[in-house]
């Protein structure tokens, strides 16, 4: 209440000062100090306002206590705001810390109360709490991150289990499936991705044929370009690159959309309404990926073969008929199967990582952005890692 009363008497005089200064150009503030045998006299003049403080800030800081008594003459100060008042209050506090007497003179009553308010608020402030540094903290941070990574792994495996459980339950009780959501997700994830995926496949086929041709020509073994294209696309590239595109395209969309729902507390609202967010949000998305990724992978494979055949024809003179014959003779359906069998695993990984990341979103919209980035990076990495595992597995099996 005391503070309120101090404040209450201020208003009119400040308003007067404001009126005088607001329409005229500001006078640059100055500070001069002179000392004699009796003490130091500091003169402040001009408009001491936040926007013009940069002119005098260093001059203020340069004034240090030298044990003498100080008189601060503020008669020439035309206007003062909280920024200026802070500088004055800070000066008084610093100079007075040595035990010297500091007196403010020629002060407008309004300015005086403003300085009083401000110094009241400075005294409550202590130094900034800086984050602790040093070797021990460095080690502690590493430990924290490691532990966090372990916790995340546990949590994501738990989420995978939860998703699989709900998925199986949906298969047993198909009436629980949200069909509208599933179809709409299938359109988003699959149908709308068809152009980019087939274009990508086509170009990969073209590139392989082109690069393979220049190398194989040296041995006169141009015809093997068919095996080169068909095996590498069907086994590896078609499905792997499709999965990477889908991870970037749909994984990010999943994380962003569910993540923003999390920020808006929509997920919590669902829970209170007795709806299971996994069933409502995650299952349709994961299921859509499980259905559409193999289809997209197949489309990419076919586009790749067409691109490869076209390029072989143009560049090497391998006719489409010849291409098809060699394809049938030397590349079995097994190659296609080896590629396609990976699709559901990729789909599950992309879907689960994207939805798990979305569920980790906390508080701000910035967190949505971070989680979306993390989701794409993690799922692409996991897709490649799983692909490597499959490679080892199949070569050990001799397929």
């Amino acid at each position: 209440m005391i503070r309120l009363k101090i404040l209450a008497c201020l208003n009119n005089s400040i308003a007067v000062t404001r009126r005088l200064t607001s329409h005229t150009a500001m006078t640059r503030p100055t500070i001069t100090s002179e000392s004699d045998a009796t003490g130091v006299c500091i003169r402040i003049a001009g408009d001491l306002r936040t926007q013009s403080l940069d002119h005098v800030e260093e001059d203020f800081a340069a004034l240090r206590p030298n044990g003498q008594d100080v008189v601060v003459d503020m008669a020439q100060v035309q206007s003062l705001d909280t920024g200026g008042a802070w500088l004055v209050a800070n000066l008084v506090q610093r100079l007075g810390s040595s035990g010297a007497q500091v007196r403010l003179e020629g002060l407008d009553p309004a300015h005086s109360s403003l300085i009083e308010t401000v110094s009241h608020n400075i005294s409550e402030m202590t130094g900034d709490e800086l984050p602790p540094r040093g070797f021990v903290n460095w080690v502690a941070r590493i430990g924290e991150k490691t532990f966090g990574a372990w916790q995340d792994t546990l949590s994501i495996v738990g989420f995978l289990g939860l998703t699989l459980h709900r998925l199986v339950r949906t298969l047993i009780m198909p009436w629980r499936l949200r069909r509208a959501a599933l179809v709409s997700q299938m359109e988003q994830v699959g149908f709308k991705a068809l152009p980019i995926v087939s274009l990508m496949g086509f170009l990969i086929g073209v590139v392989l044929a082109f690069q393979g041709a220049t190398q194989l020509k040296q041995f006169g073994a141009e015809i093997f370009v068919v095996e080169l294209i068909s095996i590498s696309i069907l086994r590896e590239l078609g499905i792997l690159l499709t999965a990477i595109i889908v991870a970037g395209r749909s994984g990010s969309a999943f994380t962003a959309s569910i993540g923003s729902m999390k920020v808006q507390e929509e997920i919590d609202a669902m829970r209170t309404l007795g709806l299971d967010p996994i069933e409502v949000l995650v299952i349709p998305r994961v299921l859509a990926l499980l259905i559409m990724l193999p289809i997209l992978g197949f489309v990419a494979d076919m586009a790749g073969l067409i691109g490869g055949a076209l390029m072989s024809w143009i560049d090497l003179g391998v006719s489409p008929g010849m291409f098809l014959t060699r394809l049938k003779e030397n590349t079995g359906v097994a190659q296609l199967a080896v590629g396609m069998i990976k699709a559901p695993f990729f789909a599950l990984v992309i879907g689960v990582i994207a939805c798990w990341q979305a569920m980790q979103v906390k508080g701000s919209s910035e967190s949505v952005g971070q989680r979306t980035t993390a989701s794409v990076v993690q799922s692409i990495f996991m897709v490649i890692a799983i692909d490597a595992l499959f490679s080892i597995f199949f070569s050990e099996l001799g397929v």
Binding site: L4, N11, R18, R19, T50, Q51, L53, T82
Partner: protein, 268 residues
């Protein structure tokens, strides 16, 4: 808060100076006309409360004055500068002399509270980093936030604290005019009353002019010097709250003589 001290200030016409002058403002979104020939003056050093039913364009008016919404017709002068068509240089100067606190704070979520308050200082002044931090801390302390909250992110604050932090940011350049959009909406009655006191206190100490969109009858009685009622696409009536009950208009009658208004009046 000593409410009478606020309301007894002399306000003869010769003494007052309009810091905001809105003339014949028309706002239209598609077919829907929100404002038509709206006129409003805000006097220096007053707290103006803008009230009106939902959809009467209170927030649109605020957004139009601060230049976030381009009106279809009309003129707006702030501190003597035409904010719609004036020279760019003048408009930038004017933008530094007002602060806006949005309804949900609109704090930058990637910055801490202190960094949020320092952002305008960084942009518009040449002062050193340490002085910026000191002034930022001062504003945070002035709005009654604990010093600990300086290093927190907006998402770690409660709704009421976010509103205070937004006010601290709005005040960081020591503006002459402060715009507040529903400052007490969503606060508990104690928090809302404390915020009202805070605005009154800062308004007094810093000589602010406050333009406040509100629904809170307690705020209107506690700190507003004058009230402007938006209805029928214009400012239907403006004046001190005592005059509001005498206005012969169904909405105004219902608003200012309803049970909630009577309760607020007894408190105020």
């Amino acid at each position: 808060m000593d409410g009478t001290a606020l309301k007894d200030r002399p306000k003869s016409d010769t003494q007052r100076e309009a810091v905001i002058r809105v003339r014949n403002l028309t706002n239209q979104f598609g077919e829907q006309v929100v404002h038509e020939n709206l006129n409003l003056d805000v006097w220096r050093g007053e707290v103006l409360g803008v009230v009106g039913g939902s959809g009467t364009g209170k927030s649109v008016l605020l957004r139009t004055i601060v230049g976030l919404n381009k009106p279809k017709a009309g003129s707006i002068e702030v501190l003597g500068v035409d904010v719609l068509n004036g020279p760019e240089e003048d408009r930038q100067r004017i933008e530094r002399s007002w602060g806006v606190a949005f309804q949900d704070g609109a704090l930058f979520s990637s910055l801490t509270v202190l960094q949020n308050v320092m952002a305008p200082l960084r942009e518009h002044t040449g002062i050193s980093e340490s002085l910026m931090a000191a002034l930022g801390g001062l504003k945070i302390s002035l709005v009654g936030l604990p010093h600990l909250s300086c290093s927190k992110f907006p998402s770690e604050l409660s709704g009421g604290m976010r509103k205070r932090a937004a006010l601290a940011r709005a005040l960081s350049l020591d503006p002459e005019i402060v715009f507040l959009d529903e400052p007490t909406a969503g606060l508990d009655p104690i928090g809302a009353a404390a915020y009202d006191d805070l605005i009154g206190e800062l308004q007094h100490a810093l000589g602010l002019t406050v333009f406040m969109v509100t629904h809170d009858l307690d705020s209107l009685y506690a700190i507003c010097d004058r009230i402007a009622v938006l209805a029928e696409k214009r400012v239907l009536v403006e004046g001190p709250i005592e005059d509001m009950t005498k206005v012969d208009h169904p909405w105004v009658q219902e608003y200012f003589t309803g049970p909630r208004a009577r309760a607020a009046q007894q408190k105020g």
